[in-house]
Symmetry: C2
């Protein structure tokens, strides 16, 4: 089964990548999300190509190492989404 | 004593801020640096305004919340520098 899109994420090219911005109410929530996201990436064997965060936001880019995103990349994106709590808002 | 510069960091304005890029040999080193940097920021009572990291780099921006950088901001920058190990390279 080939996945070509995932709700909430923007897919781009050159290289093939997924991007999503997550917004939080507090730095504590941002920090917790970052920690949990790292654990997910390690579990999936994916190292985030680019993460940009500030006090209350995290921008995540998962990029393909080869010509296109791998099943592990898609799995990491899905698991990162699953980290969201009702107190956080993904935009 | 007023500090106006800190070796290795670039100072910018609008808002007053310090920026430095750190480069590492591996994701493990990058990850350790991120964890230690967060601990430093918490100890200094500073929340990083912007951090951008990838597999082997971390770009750190410490921005003033008021008109100019506070002593805590400078202290955080100094302590972040002190985290550097011989195996990492700051550019």
């Amino acid at each position: 089964m080939e996945t070509t899109c995932l709700a909430g994420w923007t897919r781009g090219s050159r290289p093939d990548h997924l991007f999503r911005r997550f917004v939080f109410d507090s730095y504590a929530q941002t920090r917790r999300f970052l920690d949990e996201m790292q654990a997910v990436c390690e579990a999936c064997g994916v190292t985030p190509q680019n993460v940009n965060f500030g006090t209350t936001y995290v921008n995540v880019t998962i990029s393909a190492e080869g010509p296109e995103l791998s099943p592990a990349d898609w799995e990491a994106a899905r698991r990162i989404d699953a980290l969201l709590r009702p107190s956080s808002e993904a935009v």
